[in-house]
Amino acid sequence: MTTVRIFFEKCGESAYISLLDLQRVFHRLLKISELPVWYTQGFNPHIYLSFSCPLSLGQESLCESCEVKTEQESIDGEAWRAALQPLMPRGITVTKVAPAQAKVGEIATAAYRITMPADSAAALDAYNAAETAEVTKKTKRGHKTLDLKQYLPRIDYTVAGKELVFDILLPCGSGEALNLNPALLMDCLNGQGGAPAWQCQVLRTHLYTASGQDFA
């Protein structure tokens, strides 16, 4: 059995597809594609399909992925990509299909590129000057307060015309591992007079393993 990872971009319209809906859509697309994906056994067999580190609604990404299985020993990634792409909803671009190299549990951090209106610079300056930046994170067990500065001591941004841009790296894990949604930072900046979320673009650019390798 080979685990196959499908990498895709999720931008534009598709940024508003929830994980649940995305799972349904992918099930159908895989079925249509007639690719030799593995079905779970049992009374009601369905395609084995698992998404890693899904985004919040409205955020975009260049590096989303999901995994399926196949009984084939090797696959022609390009053929898989070509079979899937025409079936995708608008905004989803399949970038690569290949045998999985790492396990989802090895994902440690995610890089995001944030674009905001230039007049949010003051909020970023305030963030950089502050000692702490406490935010409340919702967890399965309730609310937890944490200090963003621990993970993002300083944000260096560049202003280009009406926009400002910066890149950040946040812990990204599944299960028990810490996962920080960039929305926490956006809310925090908004609280300091930064632009509201809908004026900003959150684009996930990379997922990294603990050793700093691109998740593949």
């Binding site: 929830s18 809906d21 079905y39």
Partner: protein
């Protein structure tokens, strides 16, 4: 990013399920608008989830988009949170494919599936920045049209539409688009365009008819006010179902629709002639699709959409004369393609062992039987030709096959109904419960659950009961209480729907053109989403009637004279007035009428085919 303006992103960030408003679903059709001659916005006046479950839109979306130079897109009624944001941010109602506002389209068409969506039509026009009344729109505005079953009494909405389509849209809507295309190229004004459109089969231009009233408020006459306009508009139909292959691709919703599965329409019309059922009359005559086309198109549709559930839809799927062949053909590939079959409208009277086996290979859900009335007498009155023996036989088979829950549908407020008939509803359910425990091969270790679902009967135009008055709410409440007092088993559950919305439904079903003002008044007073209990406000409607000086009771609580000119008398759906009168009189004597496939009752609908509906020389049953 993909043309999403900050305003649009802001709205999306503030609403529930933004995926309903973004489009981009697999199966969407995109075209280059520079190369398109006719743009149509197909509007469904209810939520995305409901509209995306609607087969009619999929059929027409597919047919129109097959024309290279026409582009049909979709719009739905935004949920209240999105509506609020769109109003606040000044985002006009747009179509999901291009995101262009309705005003950019040549034709804006609405599907009128039920009366209570009327205010949503006005809400969508308003959100689109389009004047509500046809008289206030010249040729610079899109042509606003309607289709769907409610057009058989189009009058309450007549003021708002330029064109209404009576009957089936497959050919009619294509004819309309072609005429609009010619009109655009030749620079016709609205009057010329409407005159040309009025020549098309099934097309009704409300402004071309004058309605006069008698002093007592009844309609005196409905007369064309232009030369060359037909005195009666005759419904358009598809004569041969196989001439219009069903769509083999759907726009597959990203946000779950109510009916999110592949469906193929297997037949149109109904042979039964239940006297309360409007669909059974207005979709006459009965026409079937061939098993080959059903199976081929279904398979292709499942392959292209990836759906794993296939539904065979129609008013009465089990009346298809070749149902077994259809199921055999479908079963020859369904399992290998991971597709399960469902038949949504099984009938108790021809519910056979082999049918159950052919449709329940994959899953056993609950069974539903429409008994409609609790006693044989009342079932004869409504011509629901179902006997207790048939219900018993159906349930017996179902229980032995492993079903443990049965849902029985009934109506309350039927003509000639007495408390005896109400008690009959509870008795029928009790007999089903008793039956379960008498059967030796019933599912072991399980109890039975019988659900009685009771709807309020609403007299509808073009049915033999159009002449009847609707039961008053007080009477229905009494009956409901009595029904509950007759149920003595915990295995029986009663579902009952409130009658407040049925009152409005009854008024608009049989209403005339004067109700347009009431609908507009209620809308301006905040009415929309009337189909949704949480937004329906009965008192607001009563205020609107009062403000317009119109008595709603006149429409729904008054029995019509058999010779009365009805507000829909100029709209011919095929069944003749004399047939309806005959059937009504038979109903009062509890006399039944044979289904069309056994014996023709000369309803008149065969004129739409230009010949008899059935070949009675063959032994069809």
């Amino acid at each position: 990013m993909a043309g999403f303006s900050p305003k649009f992103k802001e709205a999306l960030s503030l609403v529930q399920k933004p995926g309903r408003y973004t489009g981009g679903e697999p199966g969407c059709v995109y075209k280059d608008k520079q190369n398109v001659d006719v743009r149509m916005a197909f509007c469904f006046p209810d939520t995305y989830e409901i509209g995306m479950s609607f087969l009619g839109e999929k059929i027409l979306y597919d047919l129109l988009n097959r024309h290279e130079n026409w582009w049909c897109e979709r719009a739905f009624m935004p949920w209240t949170d999105m509506k609020e944001q769109m109003e606040r941010l000044g985002i006009p109602l747009y179509c999901l494919e291009s995101k262009d506002p309705l005003t950019d389209f040549d034709i804006v068409g609405f599907s009128l599936e039920y009366e209570l969506c009327y205010t949503n039509v006005l809400a969508m026009l308003r959100l689109g920045g389009i004047p509500l009344r046809a008289a206030d729109r010249d040729e610079r505005w899109p042509l606003i049209i309607a289709g769907g079953p409610c057009v058989c009494n189009a009058e309450p909405m007549a003021d708002f539409f330029d064109v209404m389509q009576l009957g089936e849209g497959e050919q009619m809507l294509q004819d309309i688009c072609a005429t609009v295309e010619t009109g655009k190229k030749q620079g016709w004004d609205k009057e010329t365009l409407l005159r040309e459109l009025a020549k098309l089969p099934g097309v009704y231009v409300p402004s071309f008819y004058d309605v006069t009233y008698l002093p007592d408020g009844r309609v005196e006459a409905i007369t064309p006010n232009r030369p060359g306009v037909p005195a009666r508009v005759t419904k358009a139909i598809v004569k041969n179902m196989d001439d219009y292959a069903p769509p083999v691709n759907f726009v597959v919703p990203l946000v779950g629709a109510v009916q999110d599965r592949a469906c193929v329409e297997v037949l149109r019309g109904c042979v039964r002639g239940c006297r309360f059922c409007q669909a059974g009359q207005i979709y006459r005559p009965f026409r079937e699709r061939s098993p080959q086309q059903i199976s081929d198109c279904a398979r292709e549709l499942c392959r292209r959409t990836g759906y794993d559930e296939l539904s065979l839809t129609s008013l009465s799927t089990s009346d298809h004369s070749q149902l077994e062949e259809i199921l055999d053909r479908l079963n020859s590939w369904a399992e290998a393609d991971h597709v399960s079959l469902s038949l949504p409208s099984l009938r108790v009277d021809n519910f056979s062992q082999s049918l159950v086996e052919k449709t329940t290979k994959v899953r056993k859900s609950g069974l539903t039987f429409a008994a409609e009335a609790g006693t044989q007498r009342l079932r004869d009155v409504i011509n629901k030709n179902v006997t207790w023996e048939q219900i018993e036989r159906g349930c017996r088979i179902a229980f032995s096959e492993g079903y443990t829950s049965v849902k029985l549908y009934f109506m309350m407020g039927l003509p000639t109904e007495t408390m005896e008939d109400i008690k009959g509803i509870a008795d029928t359910a009790q007999r089903v419960v008793d039956l379960f425990y008498q059967i030796s091969d019933r599912p072991k270790g399980k109890g039975v659950q019988v659900t009685i679902s009771v709807a309020c009967f609403v007299p509808k135009p073009d049915t033999p009961f159009q002449f009847c008055a609707q039961d008053r709410r007080e009477a229905l409440r009494e009956k409901q209480k009595y029904l509950l007092s007759c149920v003595h088993s915990r295995k029986i559950k009663v579902n009952y729907h409130d009658s407040a919305t049925s009152v409005l439904e009854g008024v608009f079903a049989k209403g005339d053109r004067r109700l347009g003002r009431v609908i507009e008044t209620a809308f301006e007073d905040g009415a929309f989403f009337d189909t949704w209990e949480e937004y329906f406000d009965y008192d607001r409607w009563m205020r609107a009637f009062a403000a317009c000086g119109i008595d709603p009771d006149f429409y729904n609580y008054r029995a019509l004279g058999l010779d009365e000119v009805t507000p829909w008398s100029h709209l011919d759906v095929g069944v003749s007035h004399s047939f309806l009168v005959r059937e009504y009189q038979k109903a009062l004597q509890a006399q039944t009428t044979q289904p069309c496939n056994r014996q023709c009752s000369a309803c008149g609908a065969n004129k739409l085919l230009g010949g008899p509906c059935f070949d009675y020389r063959q032994d069809l049953l």
